[in-house]
Every structure is written in structure tokens, then in C-alpha cells.
Symmetry: C2
Subunit: 495 residues, 2 copies
């Protein structure tokens, strides 16, 4: 028993060290790697992925885990063994050659996507995406969960979630969001804002200074993290006290700031998982959705909130060498405006972007959508959901990195996290009286500690639904999100 | 036979992919990793090193290589099998746990060295260095080559080289260099230069612009390379077309420029090794000394030469927003002046810095020098060899990264490469008439192609001595270097 536990810990340690190494290979590929490195990088990642897969499916490990599962374990070890068992079972469904092939193809596809996007050339990416869709269909067959083939992919990001559950949830959300947009668009405030759109001007170096300032304020120290640039902002964990976030500077001068605060939320989660879980499967979040709830919390509930900006506006102006008044800034940050780009979307439109991608992924997995028709289907659906459609691929079907990385089934987590964030915010407000005033004084300690205690400290011991239920008294509830939006945007637009 | 070859190639491919990954872990540690990452990084490198070691010493690989060695192989495969056999034999002398331990300790020591150096605190580094010296003594015993224990470490960098051979060579070099310095110091030019030292002023951003410009001119494309910053400039190969170089900005405003040109020489070598050797042991240089000959060639023979500067001075001024006249620039670049820092040393003093380190390493290996006494011994010997001694540890015993990385036996390669570079330059001048004028026109193609053909294209097929002998008609000859120095500096100082 003791020996089984030691063996399982040794395996988990080596696996997590290799996973961190893959994260560095990824991070580097997305930040600094010269173009010429892409084919070696594909081979390196493929080799390491296959090593991880081999370890995860090793007979001696599985035998030890099964023995431990039959015995009565207690405490964290019980959670660890259960989690490890599930992960092994999932890995065992995929042949090693498949894992290697998928890793190689996605690494090549990522480089192709980068080029295709910057050249606005869908044809450059098309053969790669076709290959990846094929591989993902194959993966879904290997995993073989009941129901829609998509379920087998979704499960990697949101354990237990299904297309069948998401469809009505998203349908309901869509109806409410479209109704909200309809109400907002009728208001005088919206019409006046649209008639004289006059974007803020913030120099690039000031944008970066502000990004660096705000992550420190929310508690992200540069001892354990750093901020770089990549085509697509992301967070990745490269070691126990080494979490990297990225951003980029776009036309919208607030994009870098908001996306950085978003990634800082992810990083705070990663850095707050207790050291006792290091090098085990519990050093994780129960789901991508719960992880996203943390980034959304800081990006939206804090970073787009009135309280935060009342406190921060003066420092923002000082540090940025700017002179923007509070009302103008708060209005601009929360401006509802149909846009092409998901990661630049306002809170109201955001989930519609996700629903669109969810539909595309379902279609690609079912085979009812072909890759070659994807751009036109994308554009038509954008028109229906958001009311506009892109004039080029880079702002349309090529905008997101996910498909190039093979991350089919990931997008729903963004919507789930967005909803959870509103639920958590509401619970926090009830739980800690005066927290709103704290935030409006630039004191984020209590909010951070509350999130640490309620979420981060648990590692991956519990399922997402359990975590949310324990904190909020109920599971996923899109109505809470819709209520949050309605109240906030009624205050701004007066509908 | 066919199967043995396939097996050996598969092993080499996986090993080289893991080695490239270790290089990325290293590169990142020296460039971007946040401080908090150091303990995870040590574990990651240790795991990968131990995996490489396990693969390299795998029974099936050794059996296949021995079978192939007994058969008559021809062409590149013969070279590959011989080289691989030697590498395996060397690896087999080291126990896996030792390799793991060494990797972990050096990774931790590197982070400690960085801190110690920036805090100018030898005590912070001392326990790490003591540990590493112990491990290196142990390694020397495992390797067990005849003669001085140092030989077993040296062999990793310079196959076949020994302390016994180096001692008289360095003795001879030292005598000549000290005599040269004596002559130079008596000249009026030297005295006038010393009496009114008036360093150039080049803004940091101009220094970086010039670095980026010059590496492009000598033929380093950013498709396959990039330039970053690290405490200690270095070159590392992370993939077939992914070679990274680093520099840093120091008080000497020419340091970044010269060190970048130096590293570019290494990078040009790495990027010119033919693709056919990719993922085999032949994708390498026969020795660190031969590699260094390429960096020295570009740094010294080209980058400190009259021809190059006649051509480049105007562009240098334009790009840097400067106004420095040719004579002043050429004089400053080649100013002989006793300095504390090896990598900032002029050509004349350079090898004395190496000889000092060689002596320290011999003493540490023998046990005649204790780590705790190292600073005072260093300082005393600096006084004897260079005529000055450092006022702090950072400029003294803590200045170089090598010991923290466990690279004992590396320093002699710098002197060997410096001498080879002079020999190669002399051969090039004889071989290609008009090459001097080409360089003075900013046309480096012929020189680069000549080096490619004579050196880079061979990969690691031949021993260094063979390569040099074939090109220069003789092996290592320090007299050629002394002659080069004498002629050049007589021109400048008129002794």
C-alpha cells in the first residue's frame, strides 16, 4: 500500500514535470520561437506527449492505482487516487501513436494558423484544420462517451458536461442575451454612443505600463510570474512558482489591459493551489470552466466594475499620462457594440460568440459542416447572432488559436466560466459585507482570500458542480448571469 | 544490420529532441524565467537529463552499436557509429543517479550564482560551488582517464586533450603574451591612451540596433535565430532551424556589439551543419574549441579588423545616430587595457584570463585549492597575470556562469578556439585571394562559404586536430596566434 502510493507519486511527479516542460515548449512557440523552429518543435512536443502518455498508461501504475482504489483510503490520497484512476482510464482509450500524431499535427497546425492569420489566407490553414477535424473525430470514437460525439471531447475540459445539457442552456442564454441587446439598442444612450463613436487613444507603452501595474495591484508578483506577448493571450504554468501570462496590443486600446487582468485571474488561481498538491493530479482545477470563472471574475466583475474604476481612474490617468474622465472611461469599458472578435467582445455579446463556435464544432464533429464551407457558414451565423459579418478571415474563422491546437470542446468553458463568475460574485457580495467598498478602495485582499479559500485551496479534489453548489447554494444558473447583466447595463443604458 | 541502424537512428532522434528541450529549459532559465521557477526548473532538467542518460546507456542501443562496429560500414554511417560508440561508453561510466543529481545541483547553483552575482555575495554561492566541485571530482573518478583528474572533464569539451598537453602550451602562450603586453605598455601610444581614457558613449537602444544590424550582415537570418538578453551571453540550439543567441548591455558600449558578433559566429556554425546529420550525433562540432574558432573568427578577425571597420564605420554611425571617426573607433575597439572581465577583454589579455581559470580548475580538482579560499587566490593571481585585482566578487570569482553550470574543463576551449581562429584566418587569406578586400566591401559570402565548406559541412565526422590539419597544414600552433597579434598590434602601437 505504502509502495503503491510511492509509485503513484513518483509517476505523477515525472508526468507533471514533463507536462510543465511541454508547457514551456508551447509558451515559447507562442511567444519567442523563430519561424524556423516549428518543425523541430512539433517533433519535441510529439515525443514528450507520447512519453507522458506511455507513463500515464503504464501497467504498473494502473495496477497500483486499482489496488489502492479497492482499499479504503482517506483524505487527499483518496481524492488523488480517484482522480488519477479517471485520468488513466481516459488515456488508456487513446493509442500512443494517436497521441503522438495529434501532438505533431497540432504543433504544425499552430504555426500554419499563425501564418494564415497574418496573411489573411484561409487556404493556408484549411488542410491542417481538415487533418485536425479528422483526428478529433477519431479521438471522439476512441473515447466513446454516450450521446453526441462532441461529448467525448467536451469531457476533457468539463468532466460530465454534454452537448445535450449545453444545447438548452445555451438556447436559453441566447434568447435572454438577444432580448437584452434588443433593449439596449433601442435606448437613446446606445444610439448616441453609436452615432459618435470616438475611441480612446492610449499609447502602446502606456498600455503595457498599465497592464504591469494592474496585475501587481491584484496580487500577482513578478517573483512567480511574467507578462509577454503572443498572438492570442493565454496563461500557462511552467513550474510550481512559475506561471506565465501573455497579452497583445490591439486597435482597442483597452484590450491589453482587460485581457491582462483576465489572464492574471488565471495566474492567481494557479499560484494559489497549495504546494501540498504539487506534482500530483490534484494540482489542477476541476474544470476549464471553473478556471475561467476566476479570469472572468477579475476581468469583468472587478475590472469592468464601477467601484474598481472609481478607485483606479486617477492612477490610470497618472500612469498612462492620460486625462480621461471617469464617466467616459466607465462608459467605454462597458460599451455594448457588436464586434467581430470574441476576445474583444463586451459582456453582453460575449456568450453569443461562444454559442457560434459551439455550433461550428458540433457541425464539424457530426460532419454536417465541412472545413471548406466553414468561412461562409461562420459569416452567415455571425450576421444572425451578432448582426455583422467579417470582411476577412483573420477577423472571422481564423481569429481563434484553439482549433489549431486541437482544442475542440474548449469554447463552452468560456461561457460556463462567465456564468460561474457572476454566481461567485453574487455569493461573495452576500458572504462578505462591505467587499464592494473594499474593492472601491483598491483593497483586493479579502476578495482574493475568499476565492483562495473557497476554490483555489481545494485543487482538483471536487467536481466543479460540487464546488459551485457549496459556495452558491446551487449549480450552474444562467439566470444569475442574465440578472447581473440586466442590472448593470440598465444602470448604464437606462432601458 | 538495417534494423540496428534504424534502432540507432531512432534513439539518436529521441535523444537529440530531448537535448534540444533541455536547451530550451536552459535558455529560458537564463533569459525569461521568473525567480520562483528555479526549483521546478531544476527538477525538470534533472528528469530530462536522466532520461537522456537512460536512453544513451540502453542495452539494446549499445548491443546494436557494437554489432554495427564489428561490421564494415561505410560513409557517414561509419562516422556516426564510431562517434555514438564513444559517447555511449562515456555515458556508461556515469550512474544515472549521479547524472540526475548533477543536473539538479547545477540548475539550483545557476540560480544561486545569478543572485550571488547581483548581490556581490560569494557566501550565497559558496555552498553550491562546493557541492559542484565534489560532484565534478566524483565525475572525474567515474570517467577515470589517465593522468590528471582534470583530463576526464576536459575530454567532454576537447576529445583527446589533456592537462599535460595544455600546461606547456599555455605556459608558452603566457610568456609571449606577457612579453607583448610589456612591449605595448612601453609605447607612447599606450601611455597617451591610458593617460586620457575617454570611453565612447553609445546609447543602449543604439547598441541593440547595431547588434541586430551586424548579425544580419554576416548572414544570420531571423527566420532561424533570435537575439535576447542574459547575464552571460551564449548560443544554444533549440531546433534544426532554431538557434538562439544572447547578449547584454554593459558599461563598455562596444561589449554588446562584439559579444553579439561572437555569438553570431557560433550560430552560423550551428545553422550550417547539413540537415542530413539532423537528429544524429554528427549534428555537432568535433569540439568546443573548434566551435569557438568560429565565434572568435567573426568577433576578432572580422569584427576587430581594419577592413571591416573601413566598410562599416559609416553605417555604424548612421544607424547608431553617432559621429565617431574611423581612427577613434578602430583604436577603441582594439585598445589594450588590463581589465577584470574575461568577456570584455582585449585580444592580448584574453588568454591570460583563461590561463587563470585553468589554474583554478586544476587546483579545485586536485584539492589544492579550497572553494572558501578561491576569492583571495583569484585576486592574487589576477594581480600577477593581468596586473590588477577586483574590488568585488561580481567582477572577480563570480563573473563567469560556467562553474554554476558544472562546466569544469570548458575554459581551455576558449583559448584553443582563439588560436584556431588565427590559424584559420591565415589559411583563408592564403586560400582565397582578395578575401580581405571582400570583407572591406561588406561582402562576407566567400568567407562564410569557405568556413561552411571546410568546417560546418563536416558536422562531427572528424576530430578537431584532423580538421585543422587539413585546412592549415598543421595542428594547433600558438605561434600563428602570437604572430597575428604581434603584427596587428605593432600596427596600432608601433612597438
Amino acid at each position: 500500500m505504502k509502495e503503491d502510493l510511492l509509485l503513484a507519486k513518483r509517476y505523477q511527479k515525472e508526468i507533471s514535470l514533463l507536462e510543465e516542460t511541454v508547457s514551456l515548449l508551447d509558451w515559447d512557440q507562442q511567444t519567442y520561437m523563430p519561424e524556423g523552429g516549428s518543425s523541430s518543435r512539433a517533433e519535441q512536443k510529439s515525443l514528450l506527449s507520447s512519453m507522458i502518455h506511455k507513463m500515464m498508461t503504464a501497467d504498473e501504475l494502473f495496477a497500483a492505482v486499482k489496488r489502492m482504489k479497492r482499499k479504503k483510503l482517506s483524505g487527499d490520497n483518496k481524492f488523488m487516487v480517484d482522480k488519477l484512476y479517471n485520468i488513466i482510464v481516459r488515456h488508456k482509450k487513446l493509442p500512443g501513436e494517436f497521441v503522438e500524431e495529434l501532438s505533431r499535427q497540432t504543433s504544425l497546425a499552430f504555426s500554419a494558423w499563425e501564418k494564415a492569420k497574418s496573411n489573411n489566407d484561409f487556404q493556408m490553414f484549411k488542410p491542417h484544420l481538415e487533418k485536425i477535424v479528422q483526428l478529433k473525430q477519431k479521438q471522439a470514437r476512441y473515447i466513446g462517451l454516450p450521446g453526441h460525439p462532441y461529448n467525448s471531447l467536451l469531457d476533457e475540459f468539463e468532466e460530465g458536461m454534454t452537448a445535450e445539457k449545453l444545447k438548452p442552456g445555451f438556447e436559453n442564454l441566447k434568447t435572454h442575451l438577444l432580448a437584452l441587446i434588443h433593449s439596449i439598442k433601442k435606448t437613446a444612450v446606445y444610439k448616441s454612443h453609436e452615432s459618435k463613436r470616438n475611441p480612446l487613444i492610449i499609447p502602446e507603452d502606456a498600455q503595457i505600463r498599465l497592464c504591469k501595474d494592474v496585475i501587481q495591484r491584484v496580487g500577482l508578483s513578478d517573483k512567480g510570474s511574467r507578462l509577454d506577448f503572443s498572438a492570442h493571450p493565454f496563461t500557462t504554468t511552467i513550474g510550481t512558482n512559475d506561471v506565465r501570462i501573455t497579452t497583445n496590443v490591439r486597435k482597442n486600446p483597452l484590450f491589453a489591459f482587460e485581457s491582462t487582468l483576465h489572464e492574471a485571474g488565471h495566474a492567481l488561481y494557479e499560484l494559489s493551489i497549495p504546494e501540498k498538491f504539487a506534482n500530483t493530479v490534484l494540482r489542477a482545477s476541476p474544470s476549464y470552466g471553473l478556471h475561467e470563472s476566476q479570469s472572468r471574475f477579475w476581468e469583468n466583475m472587478v475590472g469592468k466594475g464601477k467601484g474598481f474604476w472609481k478607485y483606479y481612474v486617477q492612477k490610470f490617468n497618472e500612469l498612462g499620462g492620460l486625462d480621461i474622465d471617469f464617466n467616459r472611461l466607465y462608459e467605454e469599458i462597458n460599451a455594448v457594440h457588436p464586434g467581430l472578435i470574441r476576445v474583444e467582445s463586451d459582456e453582453i455579446h460575449y456568450c453569443l460568440h461562444i454559442i457560434l463556435r459551439f455550433e461550428m464544432e458540433l457541425g464539424l464533429m457530426e460532419g454536417s459542416i465541412k472545413v471548406k464551407n466553414l468561412p461562409e457558414i461562420w459569416n452567415a451565423r455571425m450576421k444572425e447572432l451578432i448582426g455583422i459579418s467579417p470582411a476577412n478571415y483573420a477577423d472571422g474563422v481564423l481569429q481563434d488559436v484553439h482549433w489549431s491546437l486541437g482544442a475542440f470542446g474548449y469554447f463552452p468553458s468560456y461561457a460556463l466560466g462567465t456564468v460561474y463568475a457572476a454566481q461567485l460574485y453574487s455569493a461573495l457580495m452576500k458572504n462578505i459585507p462591505g467587499i464592494g467598498q473594499d474593492i472601491a478602495r483598491g483593497n483586493f485582499t479579502k476578495a482574493r482570500k475568499w476565492l483562495n479559500e473557497k476554490i483555489h485551496r481545494q485543487g482538483a479534489k471536487y467536481q466543479t458542480e460540487e464546488v459551485i453548489r457549496k459556495i452558491c447554494g446551487e449549480g450552474l444558473n444562467t439566470d444569475v448571469y442574465v440578472r447581473y447583466l440586466t442590472e448593470k447595463y440598465r444602470g448604464i443604458y437606462g432601458f
